[in-house]
Amino acid sequence: MSKFLRLIPCLLLVLMLAPAHAAPDKVPAPVRIGLTPVFLDDQAAFVHAWRTYLEQRLRRPVSFVQRGSYREVVEMLRDGKLDFAWLCGYPYIRNLNRFRLTAVPLYKGEPLYRSYIIVPASDRKSRSLTDLRGKVFAFSDPDSNSGHLYPEYLLARQGLTSSAHFARTFYTWSHRKVVEAVAAELAQGGAVDGYIWDTLALTHPELTGKTRVIAESPQFGHPPIVANRNVAPELFKAMQAVLLRMAHDEAASPLLSTLNLDGFVYGDPRLFDGIADMSRYLDNTRDAPSQRR
């Protein structure tokens, strides 16, 4: 509550400034939403349709912002350049004090997902990360849970680091591209968001068909939609309401169907405890003498 009170001057400032900008045409400033490749964000037509949907429901302009890495979006959200962002659970738990959980996607009836370790379909032998020793491995994003944190954690549990275990690692900055890199055998292994791999398996079976899942992580909290804590409560509520209603909105069903999601639900920050545990474990390992990288 005290935090809220502290926000009032800021809100007032915003309210004072906003009319100055909005007065000429009475159009409120657009809601800025950051997107990261935690879903198949490379579908411009879908993004456009979703934006139109949100504009209609929120009755104000919406602008989507896409960037090359999680870090850029996270920083923009942190700096208030974005109002909301669809992020991975990993950056969320690292910015718990700055970000506010707005909604969590419902995938297969649960707000949960897994990380997959995949190898090229031609590799019929490898059974685990350990078997990929000396190979080239593809991560999606340094700030991704499923695409980086989880495999790093797995290796750390065995006293290994990715730089020592693999001959080479690289980031594709997108889950989909991890699948592509492994399918092309550019990497002999990769870590990918299980939800994305499953969705690709539906829409692009020829791509996932060239890969094989050798390991699945336990379930983690699905990458959530979070808000900057400074976002106006009305806007936060409005956005949350719109997202949560999507599951029951006929007009949203094609969007959800494209997303391969059942809807959005309230999320409890404790959903992401698993990620937080891994993050903490790795931080401790890094503090130990064995240097990563």
């Binding site: 090229p120 031609s122 080239v136 593809a138 001959a167 080479r168 690289f170 980031y171 594709t172 900055w173 591209k177 890199a181 092309a184 055998e185 550019l186 990497a187 002999q188």
Partner: protein, 485 residues
Amino acid sequence: MLHLKDVSLGYKIPLRIAALVIVTAAMLASVLVYRNIESLRSDLSANASRIARVVADTLVEPLLHDDLWRAYEVITIPFRSTTGKAGELAAEYILVLDIQNKVYVSSKPARFPVLQPLDIGQPDIQRHLAVGSPPWPDELQIIDPPASQAIYLVTPIEADGVRIGTLLMSYSKQPFSTRLRELTRDALILTLLVLAALLPLGGYWGKHMAAPLLQLSEAMHNVGQHLPEPADLPLEESSDEIGQLAKSFKIMLAELKEKEQLQQQVITSDRLAALGRLTAGMAHEINNPLGGMLNAISTYKRHGEQDPLTLKTLSILERGLLQIKETVAALLVEAKAQTRPFDPNDVTDICTLLQTEIEKKKIEFTPEVELIDAAPISSTLVRQVIINLLLNAFHATHLHGHVHLHLYRNSDHLYIDVSNDGAHIPQEKVSYLFEPFTSLREGGSGLGLWVIYQIVQQLGGLITVQSEPDHTQFTIQLPLERHHE
């Protein structure tokens, strides 16, 4: 052994035109194929060099940032939008090598895995590019090993003048051979089509060109045996060289023919002159003893004893000698007798004389006399000539035949035309027509035309014969005696 030079122009010209057409078509086709392949090659070089430079420049940042995925995306761009025809010119694969010549990234990771040294399992590249023996070329270089199935483009990747890697693009030569095959096939089909259209045309033109030459050649070939009538030759009239040749040939032929006729006439008249001299000489030689013998017989008959057997014998001798005398007299035509001039009444006399002959064969006789008064020429001789000619004509023509007599004169000559529609005189007999004892019919003495000829000769005239089927005409031209006028 048949040499080409011995082959008829009728084949040689069409064959040469055909050969020319084939050679032209083949050359055009090969030039087109060659040009096409060359342009494909230069297209590929230009295209590949452009792509190589762009890709090398774009790779600088990913390489500096060690962003493997970005580098992969850059080198796979050229493969994304290339399909169909454009895909033919696309690279087979692209390699990015780091400074240790290890594969940094490749467009075919399965074949060229990341971090693999290039010299492992790539004998082609190793052999032709001498990988591992630095330095690599300092600027874009196209390497086209003759034995290799590929062309390589090697481009250094440099950041601020420092080499950070090498871009290697491999282009398969397969499209060239495929295109070459396609082009060759197309060219072949096209050539065959052109040939199918042009060869008959060429053949026709060739034949057309050769035809006048062949005609001329055949005509010349025939000259040896006999002189053909210029009008009968199927030679084309044109103003080109062949036409002129044909014209010259016709003129030559006409001249030859004239010469031949002249020669024939000379021979004939020479022979007739010789015969005339011989006859005259013999007649004199015969007449002298003959006169003596006849005198002797006459004297003996008047003064000698009249023994009946002797008389009978002498009579036989005398009749025989007289017959000889008559024959000799007939052969010896004497034109010296001075008689009155020939006048139109003589024609009437002749008609009267010959009336019996005319009626006997029911001949349609049409005398046409264009003489008004007497012509200064011996009437006896002219009458004899006309009578002989008419008698011959009457004999020559058939029952109800037609005989025409045309008499006319100018200031110098008298002309006698006698024509009939009877059987014509064969060419080979014309030469001997005027010789004595040459008869065209049964029972003729063969002296009629001889006499005519002798008279005409002695009068200094000309006699010509024209004989075609159903029309035979004798024309006699006799000079008039000037001093009488």
